[in-house]
């Protein structure tokens, strides 16, 4: 796999690392091993060493995959079940987002709504490989990440409608999807904000294994973010920390070439984001994000690398959003030729074609899935429509986990004991 070449220079400990999966973990009594970078300090300066050493180590996976194809005979990258699962997930994402647009224009949801049309391959390709206990951290373009992770469409749609049955009780909205049950850690409005949170979740996984001695804890965290975020400090700070401590995290860049109206090429000195991984000591991989099977292959390796305790990976998925940045964006800057080029590479159409041509399933089965998803989405809208809006009493309920944090009132009682708190009319 393309990764091993990139990692060879950065993991000289080919012997079992003291911090890796074997059970001989260091106790707190003996002196702890050096908890830091294992890269060798390069004293001789050669100006172009970066390019020179890296050539050939980071490879676009699409080429690797293409080479693989002729070698194995009945080469099917996926089984029928997997194929249908992937197809269903992507169609759900697409249908849901289309319905969101409809609902928005009908005045059922408000504010900033960012749709994921066209990028489904990334979400499906990665998240469908995760277990329930693995965590996902996203950005404001998070509806489909939530759906892929397993949050019911009803809960997401209610949240968008601002109803109390939403996954965040209507308090988060489009940009703040959270689910404790499915380990979706948000939903963040500011770009880059979620990356440290994802790093923290990965840290917890490592901590659980090494300090709390839950030896089979191998939870992986995925952090999704865009090309614009890759110019933000938090991105680099977290790449450093994740690589330094070998945290079980995968950084997934959804490079759709546009940050609202700012082209990636106009804002980034070196637009090849995957190259930034090796600078921090982790492999950087570029993959065609419009092809769910390619994404899945890369994701498999990155996630298992993290599970084995070998550390983080930076995956750049070249993808495209068919709609504007948000429903309020007129999307006038992008070249229609560019748009049509990518529309021709629609991930759902591509997968459908692959499934039919490989005789994994018939057209009728796929149509049945389409119909099923339509029903799911309709049902979600109905459910959200009929759900109640949050009552006034909900206003103060979740401000503090421990409501004593509202303090002691002039009468000597904790404010949260005031009955007006449950009515939501108390003045804090």
């Amino acid at each position: 796999m393309a990764f091993s070449a990139a990692t060879a220079n950065f993991n000289p400990l080919n012997t079992p690392s003291l911090r890796s999966h074997d059970n001989h973990l260091v106790t707190s009594v003996s002196p702890s091993p050096f908890f830091g970078s294992t890269a060798k300090l390069r004293l001789s300066s050669s100006p172009k060493f970066n390019v020179h050493r890296r050539s050939g180590s980071v490879v676009a996976v699409s080429e690797a995959v293409k080479e693989k194809k002729p070698k194995s005979t009945p080469n099917l990258l996926i089984t029928k079940e997997e194929g249908l699962e992937l197809y269903e997930d992507m169609v759900l994402g697409r249908a849901f987002e289309d319905m969101c647009a409809q609902m928005y224009y009908r005045g059922k949801m408000f504010g900033f709504v960012h749709l994921y049309n066209g990028q489904e391959a990334v979400s499906t390709g990665f998240i469908k490989l995760l277990k329930q206990q693995d965590s996902v951290v996203s950005t404001y373009r998070d509806h489909v990440h939530a759906l892929s992770k397993g949050v019911p469409a009803r809960a997401v749609m209610s949240e968008l409608f601002g109803k109390t049955t939403g996954c965040c009780r209507g308090q988060g909205g489009s940009m703040h999807m959270f689910s404790r049950e499915h380990n979706l850690l948000g939903g963040f409005a500011f770009i880059g904000e979620g990356i440290p949170v994802a790093t923290g979740a990965a840290f917890t996984s490592k901590y659980k294994r090494e300090v709390l001695k839950e030896v089979d804890c191998d939870h992986v965290t995925l952090a999704f973010f865009g090309d614009g975020t890759c110019n933000n400090g938090q991105f680099y700070e977290c790449l450093n920390m994740a690589a330094l401590w070998k945290l079980p995290i995968v950084f997934v860049v959804e490079n759709n070439l546009w940050a609202i109206g700012m082209s990636h090429l106009r804002s980034t000195s070196d637009p090849q984001i995957y190259k930034k991984g090796p600078a921090f000591g982790m492999p950087g991989v570029h993959v065609d994000g419009m092809d769910v099977l390619k994404v899945r292959e890369v994701a498999k390796e990155a996630i298992s690398r993290a599970r084995r305790g070998e550390g983080p990976t930076l995956v750049e998925c070249e993808t495209y959003r068919f709609r504007g940045h948000s429903l309020a964006d007129p999307d006038e800057l992008r070249d229609p030729a560019e748009k049509s080029r990518y529309t021709a590479r629609d991930p759902i159409t591509a997968l459908k074609k692959y499934i039919i041509e490989s005789n994994l399933a018939s057209e009728a089965e796929l149509k049945a899935i389409d119909k099923k998803i339509d029903e799911v989405v309709e049902d979600a809208v109905e459910f959200a429509d009929e759900s109640p809006v949050p009552p006034r009493s909900q206003l103060l309920e979740n401000v503090f986990a421990d409501p004593k944090g509202f303090g002691i009132g002039p009468d000597g009682r904790y404010r949260c004991e005031d009955p007006k708190f449950t009515q939501g009319t108390a003045h804090v």
């Binding site: 965040c168 988060g172 850690l185 440290p196 938090q234 920390m241």
Partner: protein, 453 residues
């Protein structure tokens, strides 16, 4: 005239002069006469005043602080008021006797309805010896005890591990608990604070240290957006039991950027609690309470208070995060303060007592939310409020506190609330200038005199 007459005249003149001189002499020594008078009338009151003045005097002499109302050793004034409840005379140096206009000293204050068991337990267990330590050691002790108690408690920050903390609060912890539990982070405040928040969401209880509180300005994104808000925006699904702590405040010529008071910037963030410690006792108590709390708590320490020495109880105790601390009960004026200014206030209190005032000093401790019960009780008693803080004038804790008191207790005030804060000036390096940017005891004395006219 005969010699006899002259002799008589001289004698009378001598007597007259002597009596005159005697009267003049007596006026200068009236103080002593009065003392003798009261000595026979009831020496105890007088002795108590001198004792009290003496106790206040020890406060300013050295940084060591043996004066603490929560401690089992009560101040002489307090203990006197509990036992005697008698009136006393305030004697001023011009010799004018003046009985206390309010008459009886107040009864023991209504104990706070929400006082935790721990606080009262400490005061009743005066039989245990306790141990003496410095404030940073108290913080370390609290942290270590909580880390022993719960394996999910971990520390993150710059130089907290191998270096032992830039103020030695985490000294020895990395050797004991390992490099992962006491994590030395790279210099990336925003990211490691966010990492702490992510870890808190997924089950750990991190304590994030800002090497200096000012550095947490870089972490403002994470503290404002994620720390306070995620519990709410996730509909209550994720709790963030994080503690963010570090030293702040004006030190000794540390320069403008290392002398910042961030409590004013953070106070508007919904969903967080802020506390400020000022003595080894409450430092340890607040540290433990903050770690045990399910809410995100920001614990403000002060650079100059780390070497305060105090005797604290041996047994486990916590200080309630939402309560204020009564430092010195009084009658004339309520002085609200926190952190280092507490010591300036107590120094001023010594002067004030000498001048005949009886200030009530409250260390508010909880900067967000305010303990309006303790504060309210005090305002209802004294009717005059002076706030002394190190925060900036504009938009500081004092400003919020003034608003809160005016809103809730306006009817009880006899005078407008006075607020002494630091000047709205970047703290200068020069010592003479730095001194005047913060509130000094002389200003506090003047303010009280002005307030009590």
């Amino acid at each position: 005239m005969s010699l006899k007459f002259f002799a008589h005249f001289l004698f009378i003149f001598q007597v007259y002069i002597s009596v005159f001189l005697l009267i003049i002499h007596l006026q200068f020594h009236f103080f002593e006469i009065a003392f003798l008078f009261y000595f026979f009338a009831g020496a105890k009151p007088m002795a108590a005043i001198f004792q009290g003045v003496g106790a206040a005097a020890t406060l300013s002499s050295s940084p060591s602080n043996s004066f603490d109302s929560n401690n089992s050793v009560f101040s002489p004034l307090t203990s006197f008021s509990v036992r005697r409840g008698a009136s006393f005379a305030v004697v001023r140096s011009d010799g004018i006797l003046n009985l206390n206009p309010k008459g009886r000293r107040a009864q023991q204050l209504i104990s706070n309805a929400v006082a935790t068991k721990a606080d009262s337990a400490a005061s009743s267990s005066s039989s245990k010896p306790g141990h003496e330590l410095l404030l940073f050691e108290a913080l370390q002790e609290g942290l270590e005890e909580e880390m022993d108690r719960d394996p999910r408690v971990c520390v993150m920050g710059e130089d907290v591990g191998h270096y032992g903390g830039s103020y030695k609060v985490t000294k020895g912890l990395a050797e004991k608990f390992g490099d992962l539990r006491v994590l030395d982070t790279p210099i990336a405040e925003n990211s490691f604070t966010g990492m702490g928040i992510g870890a808190a969401m997924t089950g750990l209880r991190p304590v994030v240290e800002g090497m200096n509180m000012g550095f947490l300005l870089l972490a403002f994104n994470q503290i404002s957006n994620n720390c306070g808000m995620l519990h709410y925006t996730s509909g209550g699904q994720f709790t963030i039991p994080i503690v963010i702590r570090g030293p702040g405040g004006v030190g000794r010529q540390l320069g403008a950027e290392h002398s910042q008071r961030l409590e004013s910037y953070f106070q508007s963030i919904p969903g967080i609690q802020m506390v400020a410690c000022s003595t080894p006792y409450n430092a340890k108590g607040l540290m433990k309470a903050a770690i045990r709390s399910e809410n995100p708590v920001i614990l403000f320490e002060h650079v100059l208070l780390y070497n305060l020495k105090e005797r604290i109880p041996d047994e486990d105790y916590i200080c309630n995060l939402e309560e204020a601390e009564m430092v010195r009960p009084g009658e004339h004026v309520t002085i609200l303060t926190y952190s280092r200014m507490r010591y300036h206030v107590m120094q001023a209190a010594k002067t004030l007592v000498n001048k005949g005032y009886d200030p009530e000093v409250i260390d508010i401790r909880s900067l967000k939310p305010f303990d309006l019960y303790t504060i309210g009780n005090s305002v209802k008693k004294t009717h005059r409020v002076l706030i002394v803080e190190e925060c900036m004038r504009t938009g500081g804790i004092g400003a919020s506190l003034t608003a809160a008191i005016t809103e809730n207790f306006n009817d009880y005030l006899d005078a407008p609330i006075m607020c002494l804060s630091s000047q709205d000036v970047p703290t200068p390096y020069a010592g003479t200038l730095e001194e005047v940017t913060v509130v000094q005891p002389a200003q506090i004395v003047t303010a009280v005199e002005q307030l009590c006219q």
